[in-house]
């Protein structure tokens, strides 16, 4: 984007913030909006197109697509935010600890990170979702651990770079303890680099969860969830396309906006 004229880049940035703001606001206030209940069925109005009663039409059970699309981000966002937070904590702790401690601790932790990276993410998710059911807590913990490895790698690398810098050396020479150095000097400075990686992991987690839902192993019906909505509406794509397009647009705009936000290359 650095090749674009300045004003254009700013305009895009503003647009990205607007999209993110829209998603945040909608996710928070959707239950208070004057929308139809997401599970209200209507056997007299199934798979209808645009109408004044249903702005985006209805799905195969006569439920309001607009209402479901606006509610549909809530399950993914809750799970993705919690899982990302968990993976950020684990990732930063592992990564910076490895860099700070050095020696055999670094070696062991690095190998652990390599292990985690080698795990086939989706297979593990499928296994866990299939064997332990749709418990959101288990899902969050699993996602949190699996997506911690890339964050740990970035945190370790940037901490190492930082440790070589003068002000950290000074803090060490002044007799600062590891934890203090970590919290006082390292974290505030690695945060920016690590944040980019965390935001990327956030989008992968959103995509992973919606893929799980699409495969029938994430959210359970009748929960409005974008991946699940797309899976349900696919059969009727040529009858009422909005039922599949609406969740696609919502999901894609959120993921694209987060990607654009962190994409500074």
């Amino acid at each position: 984007m650095n090749n674009l004229p300045q004003h254009r880049s700013t305009r895009i940035r503003t647009f990205v913030y607007c999209v993110l703001g829209f998603h945040a606001v909608v996710a928070l206030i959707a239950p208070f909006l004057p929308l139809m209940p997401t599970d209200k069925q209507d056997s007299g109005a199934m798979l209808q197109g645009f109408s004044s009663a249903h702005w985006l039409g209805t799905d195969a059970l006569g439920r309001d697509v607009l209402s479901r699309a606006l509610h549909g981000g809530r399950p993914s966002l809750v799970i993705a935010i919690l899982a990302t937070a968990l993976s950020a904590v684990i990732g930063i702790a592992l990564g910076s600890l490895a860099a700070l401690a050095g020696g055999w601790v670094d070696e062991a932790l690095s190998r652990l990170i390599d292990f985690l990276l080698a795990l086939p993410t989706l297979i593990l998710l499928l296994l866990i979702a299939s064997f332990f059911g749709h418990d959101p807590f288990i899902l969050i913990v699993t996602l949190g651990f699996m997506y911690a490895a890339p964050i740990a790698r970035v945190a370790r690398a940037s901490t190492q770079v930082l440790l070589a810098r003068d002000f950290v050396r000074v803090a060490r020479l002044q007799g600062g303890r590891g934890v203090n150095i970590l919290l006082g000097e390292v974290l505030p400075n690695v945060w920016r680099v690590v944040f980019t990686e965390i935001a990327m992991q956030f989008t992968w987690i959103i995509l992973a969860f919606s893929s799980l839902s699409f495969l029938g192993l994430g959210a359970s019906p009748p929960t409005p969830e974008w991946g699940l909505m797309i899976a349900e509406a696919r059969s009727y794509m040529t009858i009422n396309p909005t039922a599949v397009i609406a969740p696609i647009v919502m999901l894609a705009s959120l993921v694209l906006a987060v990607q654009a936000l962190v994409d500074r290359e």
Partner: protein
């Protein structure tokens, strides 16, 4: 300038490349071959043994024949048996077999094969699902090469209809060990390759006793879910979908390409509650769960308006002479009262398992969940994976969706509701019902028999753990090239008369 040229050349090259790929990708169709889409409900454990629980349907009906078939009006017609008579008490039946019929391996079909086949169906050790239908047969003996005598434990007026069950197929003597993967039958098609997770290939049996099949080949292609099967028909990759969701039938509205058939049928969906688990062991809870829903609304929501006929938990369908059309309007207050009486004054929380293994099975639970909400019944929907649903979930969880094909009254009541039936999905043991079933089946007079079957259906409505809201009006769709499939249930389809132009 140069940069743009390079990029343009690059883009053009990519476009040309993809067009060339496209040229290789065109689907080809062959005449004389029927491609049938099938589901993968048993996840690789499918077998061609018609008496096994994992039998793969409708393939078995293309390879094997029954003694007695069904006509378009569901009356019994000769297949491998030419005629049948019974004694006065209806407990001894004599069948005369067709002569000169040969199996695919060239050996001749005779009474020994019938004795062998029926003995396997009723073997208590093997406990075939067919035993629930034909368990009434106590013994079978060959009178001569082409006559068999069946002795029943009780009178059964409708034995010919029961023998027309889609699994009561005739297999050659001593075939048990090999029949699962290398079946030998007398049917219109013989097995070439058996690959239940991929494509099963059948070729025409030139010596078929009803005449040489029109088709040279049938391919049964397995699809992971109903959506990809519909995709395949839309893309001319299969010719026949046995059942589609009526609501999506407008996708196949182009009559020059597709033939749509709507067939009133006895197929039904249900939600089963295991009576051996809490809280469904309480008859009041079961009844509350069943009367809290409006059946017609569920039928309309799930199947589309006109897609189904409401049923009062009776598996006996509208065209059956024994059908009971009892009153079963939605009764929210009654349901609440029953629940309060059973110790759930604040309503009840239940989990229901479902899966995309067949169309309608997920929507049914979603519609049910909505319907029973106001009676204080809070349903949590549990999704299970489609493949392996029948093995892993069905009859195992406490509450789950169910799906059955059309069967005559005497059969479906014995196969699904009798205490000892292998496929009694709720595990309900009801000796009173068993006695009523025995009494009804051995009653000679039709009017009296009908009264008794109606009483049975009323008894079921009071006690059963099966919530059965509707019988489906089937929507079958096929390529317009396919000819010879009448708008009747698939068990009555004569596969040898089908052609593809």
């Amino acid at each position: 300038m140069q940069n743009k040229i390079i990029l343009r050349v690059f883009v053009t090259a990519m476009l040309c490349g993809s067009l060339m790929l496209a040229a290789c990708g065109r689907a080809t169709t062959v005449t004389g071959v029927l491609r049938v889409a099938n589901d993968a409900g048993f996840g690789g454990a499918e077998t061609m043994d018609p008496y096994d629980g994992n039998r793969t349907w409708p393939t078995i009906n293309m390879v094997f024949d029954r003694l007695i078939g069904v006509d378009k009006d569901f009356s019994p017609i000769p297949e491998l048996a030419l005629s049948w008579t019974s004694n006065e008490d209806l407990n001894e039946w004599t069948l005369v077999l067709r002569e000169g019929v040969v199996f695919h391996d060239g050996s001749e079909f005779n009474a020994d094969d019938v004795v062998y086949s029926i003995n396997r169906m009723i073997d208590p050790e093997f406990d075939s699902p067919v035993r629930a239908v034909l368990g009434v047969i106590e013994s079978v003996e060959a009178v001569d090469n082409y006559t068999v005598k069946l002795s029943l434990s009780t009178g059964e007026a409708d034995l010919p209809s029961l023998l027309a069950d889609y699994r009561a197929l005739m297999t050659p003597v001593d075939s048990q060990a090999t029949i699962g993967k290398a079946p030998i039958g007398t049917g219109p098609f013989r097995m070439e390759t058996f690959d239940p997770e991929g494509t099963t290939v059948l070729v025409a049996n030139e010596n078929y006793f009803f005449g040489k099949p029109e088709l040279s080949k049938i391919e049964i292609i397995t699809f992971a879910d109903s959506q990809s099967a519909a995709q395949a028909l839309a893309g001319d990759q299969v010719d026949l979908l046995l059942a589609i969701d009526g609501k999506s039938s407008s996708i196949f509205g182009d009559t020059s390409k597709f033939t749509l058939q709507t067939i009133p049928s006895g197929d039904w969906n249900a939600i089963d509650f295991r009576v051996d688990r809490k809280p469904f062991d309480d008859a009041r809870v079961r009844k509350a769960l069943r009367i809290a829903a409006d059946r017609q609304v569920i039928a309309d929501t799930v199947l589309g308006v006109g897609g189904g006929v409401a049923a009062c938990d009776t598996p006996v369908w509208t065209a059956d002479p024994y059908r009971w059309d009892g009153p079963c309007a939605k009764d929210t207050e009654g349901a609440k009262a029953l629940l309060a009486e059973a110790g759930f004054p604040d309503g009840i929380d239940i989990d229901i398992y479902t899966s995309d293994v067949e169309v309608h099975m997920v929507e049914l639970v979603e519609a049910y969940q909505q319907q029973v909400k106001d009676a204080g019944i809070r349903v949590t929907i549990k999704m299970a994976d489609a493949s392996g649903f029948w093995d892993d979930v069905w009859m195992k969880e406490s509450a789950f969706v169910d799906s059955w094909g059309q069967r005559p009254a005497a059969q479906v009541l014995n196969e699904v509701y009798r205490s000892t039936a292998a496929w009694n999905p709720t595990g309900q043991v009801d000796k009173a019902l068993d006695a009523m079933l025995d009494d009804a089946r051995s009653t000679k007079d039709l009017a009296q028999r009908k009264q008794k079957y109606i009483a049975i259906q009323q008894h079921i409505f009071e006690n059963s753990g099966i919530f059965l809201p509707y019988h489906k009006t089937l929507t079958r769709v096929m390529s317009s090239k396919v000819k010879g499939i009448d708008p009747i249930v698939i068990d009555a389809v004569r596969w040898e008369r089908i052609s593809v132009s």
